[in-house]
Amino acid sequence: MKLLIPGPVMDEIRSHGEKLYPEEGAGLILGSIEGEHREARRVLPMPNHFNSGERNRRYLLDPQEILQAEELAEQLGLEVIGIFHSHPDHPPAPSQYDLDWAVPWYVYLITRVEQGAASESRAWRMLEDHTRMVEQALEIEDGEG
């Protein structure tokens, strides 16, 4: 699978991680699916509902807000294709905690935010058998996408 993200959409993901640093920032990626390609069209930054003292290493999205986002996506003719979140001062690779909570089918985009500045992003997907997450191709499109 390849995840395509227009530059301006990627900028929004990076900005959200930087804005919430040193806490983790997360949200949903809305887009379309074309065969093995998923194309992001817009993102919905979401509140981090994890306990306030642990948001520097954990994120949690509210199920009711996810439902509202799914309904919005349907209205827009899009789908919730994935989740983005930041790893403050840590590599953009899934942790054991990410593995424990990952839902197959979604693509998970993780962005490292180092000292408040977003750097590398990588895309991952949980295998159907729930055993591990596998890196996916990520293409960030220049210009207006």
Partner: protein, 93 residues
């Protein structure tokens, strides 16, 4: 019949259906019926020990069943059982 709302990531296992109608008296029975109808959804709702996976949230209408009677919560024809994914993660520390 009770309506079950299936979230996007589980629709590949319900032949693309986002709404499934089920005859059941409790949330647990509804999940059993759903799994009987669409066996491939089972491993994505339950782990190898038969427990609900951590990312599975169940709401009857707008109420989380954890605040009711869990999978023993009664459901009626007019109710909608919503399966909603919990989305969470974090770093290594």
């Amino acid at each position: 019949m009770t309506q079950i709302r299936v979230p996007t990531p589980l629709r590949p296992y319900t032949e693309g259906e986002g709404q499934v109608k089920i005859e059941a008296n409790t949330v647990g029975e509804a999940l059993e019926e759903l799994t009987a109808k669409f066996p491939s959804i089972g491993p994505h709702l339950f782990n190898d020990d038969g427990e609900l996976r951590p990312y599975v949230n169940l709401f009857v209408n707008d109420k989380d069943v954890r605040t009711l009677e869990g999978v023993q919560t009664a459901i009626h024809d007019s109710d909608t059982l919503m399966i909603l994914p919990s989305i969470a993660g974090g770093i290594f520390a």
